[in-house]
Every structure is written in C-alpha cells, then in structure tokens.
Symmetry: C2
Subunit: 302 residues, 2 copies
C-alpha cells in the first residue's frame, strides 16, 4: 500500500519513507503490473482506432496516421487496437476511441459510447477533434498563386458535403475575395480521371496563366495529366496545387506542389489528446487545427 502511495500520491508520504521505498524499488527492479492496475481501476490500458471508411490498403494515408497514433501512445503504457470492420465493431475493452471517417449518421452510436472519444477530422457536432487547418492550407495555396501572378485561379473541389471540403473552399474563396477576384469552383468525385476529363473537355475555356487549386492530390494528378495532354506548359502557362502531401504528390511528374498535411504529427496529437481526456475523466478537449505546409515543387512557378 505504501508503495502504491509513493507512486500515485507521493505527497501523502514522508520524504524518508518515500526514499526508502524508492531505493527498494530500484534494487528489486520493481515494475507495476499493468494488468492488476487495469483491473483495480476498471481500465484496460487499450485505446481503439476506428477507421469507418473503406481502407484502400494501397493508400498510405491511414497507415501513416496509425503510425503516428502508435507513436503518441507508446510512452504511456497504452496499447492500440485497430478496428476496420464496420459490421462487427467490437467496442468493449477500451478506455477510449479515436475515430476517423465518421459521417453524420454515425453520431447516433458515437453518442452512446461510454468512454472518451476524439475524432480525426473536422465536425460540426461538438465532438473534440484534431484536423489539418484546411482553410489555412488553401489560403496559403491561393495567396501563393496570386503572388506568382497567375491570372485565373480555379478551384477543383470534391463533391461531398463534408466540413473538410467546406473549409478548403472557404480558404480559397476568402482569399480571392480579399483580392477582389471572383471565385470559380468546380466539384467532382475524388478521382484523377474526373479532373482529367473535366479539364480536357473544357480546355478551350482555360486561358494561359491559369492555376488549378485542387482539394486533393488525386485531383491535382489528373489536372497535370490533362494539361500535359493538351500541350499546356507546366508551370509556366499552367499551375497546379494539390492537397495532402501523402504519397501521391510524389507520383506525379513533375512532382506536385501541394499543401502537405503533417499526418504523423496529427496521429501523435490525437493520441495525446485522447490520453489527456481519459486522465481528466472525459473532460472536453476542444478542437485543434494544425497548420499544413505549402510544399513547392514542380507544378507552379517559384
């Protein structure tokens, strides 16, 4: 019992006794047994990471996030379980959850979870979350395109009603308005062939000196291909800026100028936020927007 107190409530123990106990712990290589601790505290020392979207295993975005979470966790004797199967979600035996890919329809069961939850990705339902600062990212991209004197600045967006998309568009719109320019947004499914097709179909309408600001690297890839097919010169006559900076940006030739998300760091932060929330018995943690970074590569003038 005294040992327990030395560890958890050292202020209740006299300095001499405390030191004695600490010496003994050192000599005996004492390590608290986490299973016993878990049992007594009604804890599991496990957190679950739920990926509610279909995981395309070739897309390293979530793997990178998982890696970050694992990193953020490993100091604290906490372990991680991955849950990808939407059908039989096993939600027992965890002290908390990190959830990504949640849609509005998931609120129902998320609200019923007994343990702390942190979301990855902006949401407007009051859940604590961490995300890239999508708005800031597209602001930076748009500002940069303006600074490089491209005349026409067009946004290629993703055709979903999700906060991340609204924020990205908002970053673009706000910046253009501030410069007295009229925003021009085209939305489509998040596939490179869709943006490729769109640009090729409308090629005549795009004057030289145009930048396509894309809501994803996938769309940006398609844009690059379409411009090249139609004989446009990148980056002199046409610029492209992507968003994400995970893997795909390097697949393009030339490599994409893109708004790069710090995905590993986001994972670490998610883990820390959840651990803190658990330690504070579920206290609200608020929202955390992490600034992304505009990475200059070959698809825009520098």
């Amino acid at each position: 019992m005294t040992v327990s107190r030395v560890i958890n409530h050292p202020e209740q123990v006299t300095p001499e006794l405390k030191q004695l106990v600490e010496q003994a712990m050192a000599i005996l290589h004492y390590r608290p047994n986490s299973a016993a601790k878990a049992l007594a505290n009604n804890r599991t020392n496990v957190i679950k990471f739920l990926i509610l979207e279909d995981v395309d295993t070739t897309e390293p975005y979530y793997m990178t996030l998982l890696f970050g979470i694992a990193r953020g966790l490993d100091r604290q004797q906490y372990a991680l379980q991955l849950v990808t199967d939407r059908e039989h979600l096993d939600l027992d035996h965890a002290d908390g959850y990190i959830i990504t890919g949640a849609r509005s329809t998931d609120c129902q069961w998320i609200d019923q979870l007994a343990k702390p939850v942190v979301l990855f990705g902006e949401n407007r339902h009051g859940y604590d979350f961490i995300d890239t600062d999508n708005k800031l990212g597209e602001q930076q991209a748009t500002e940069y395109a303006l600074a490089k004197n491209y005349q026409s600045i067009i946004f290629l967006g993703i055709d979903v009603r999700e906060p991340f998309e609204y924020s990205r568009e908002a970053g673009y719109i706000n910046t253009l308005q501030r410069h007295q320019k009229v925003p021009q947004i085209h939305r489509m499914g998040n596939h490179s062939h869709e943006s490729q097709h769109f640009i090729s179909e409308n090629w005549r309408k795009f004057a030289r000196n145009t930048v396509f600001i894309c809501a994803s690297d996938r769309l940006a890839l398609g844009a690059v291909r379409a411009i090249q097919q139609n004989g446009g010169r990148i980056p002199n006559d046409f610029g492209v800026i992507g968003f994400d900076g995970v893997f795909l940006d390097q697949v393009s030739n030339p490599k994409l100028t893109t708004v790069k998300q710090p995905v590993v760091q986001l994972g670490e932060l998610l883990a820390r936020m959840l651990l803190q929330k658990i330690a504070q018995s579920g206290a609200q943690q608020g929202e955390l927007l992490v600034p992304p970074k505009l990475v200059l590569r070959g698809t825009i003038r520098t």
Copy 2:
C-alpha cells in the same frame, strides 16, 4: 467458475449446463474482462513491435507492416505497442515481440527475452521468422528478363552483409547459371544516387539490350534516371526491375517493373504466428517465406 469452464474447457461441462450458461451469457451480454483474465493468467494481452532501424517516417514500408500487424491482431483481443527507441527499450508488460531490423549484435539481448519472439526478416540464428521469399523473387525477375531476350543481365545489389541480400543475389545467380550465363554483380549503398552515379560513370560499358536487376526500388529509381540521362531507351534498349513494390515503384516515370512484397499480408502473418506461438507456450514456429509477385509496368519489355 462454470462459466469459465464453458469458455475455456467446454469438454468438461455437460451439454445441458453448457447450453444454459451460453443462453445466460447471451441474455446478459456477458463479455469476459480481459484485464482480469490477464491478471489471473499472468498475461498482458499486449504484443510489442520493435523497429530497431531508424524509421524514416516518409518511407511507408514499416507503416504498412505495422498496419498489417494491427490487422492480424485485432480479432484476438490483443493490442499492440510500437517501440522505436533503441535506447530505452521498454520490454516489460508484453506477451511477445515482433522484431524487425535486428542485426547479429542484437542476438545477445534477444536471447534473454522471457517471452516469445518472432522476427521479420530472414536470419540465420534459428529465430522463427517470416519474410518475403527474396530468392524466388529475383529468380522470377531474372527468368522474365531472360524470356524477353535481353542479352546482358546485371545485378545491382546493396552493400550489406544481410541474409535478405544474399538471398536476392542467390536468386539471380542461380537463374543465370542455369542458363549458362555469367553473373555480374555490383554492390553499393541503398540510395538512388549511388546507382545513378554508377551507371552514368560506366555508361559506355553497357551494351544495348541490357537489364538491370536491382535489389531495391531505390536503386532501380536511380538506374532509370541514369539511363534516361544518357539517352537510353526504356524498355526497348534497357530494362530495369526493382524490388519492394512499396510506394517508390510508383514514383518513377515510367513506373517500375518490380518484385512486389505483400507487406500488409506479411504483417498479418507475423501477428498470427506470434499469437500461435504464445498459445503454444513458446513452441518453435519455424520459417515462413512468402512468395512475392513480379509486377509488370513500364521499365521492361512485355
């Protein structure tokens, strides 16, 4: 106690009682408490994944492996901890270990581990392991190059004394010998600029109709760049085959023909093997070589 028996030793319980208990469990939504189980069994329900190499966080190889391990684990109520810091390895509180990046000098402390260990990567120290079948992979690559009538087939290897490299070279050598051809191996550090430099320096010595079989996609990338710089035509006059198939193969232009490792699957298999070893109280599991797949893309004739 009877419930415990129904779960763990059902053969010791009469069918009627067993059914009764199972009904009750269903009605009450009974879920065994894993912390209590862990305490009683002297288990932790945690396995640790040790990455002993420096993790370049932009290289998704280990992230992919981590993802695979997490997948293989999540059925079994087992959770995962990632250990990357070689300095303060925390090796307590785990039921087993998956280790990657181990060198011969690590045997000393690995031997002292009290819990089951499975290695990722070939080793010749008798540890259970799982790996890609490196030899088979390079056999396939070499056979394919021969079948496409390239005259000269050169191996660019990595300058390390590790089993995986020996196996890859062996696959190449054996195949050439079988076809009465003389192997030609050049070893260098595993960086694209090293292979690029090597080929450029020796460009005159390479006749048309040469294939470079590379021990990694990194080396293959450099080979492609060197050939292009020197005006060689890919794949008609020069072929390149890489090894790994994680991420880098898609960065090249044209995309790499490569020997693709099933990394997610390897992770899943690692998890399963370790869980089985734990269940069998540490029984030897042997070696498992998983066949890779030659992926045909743009850097060799098809």
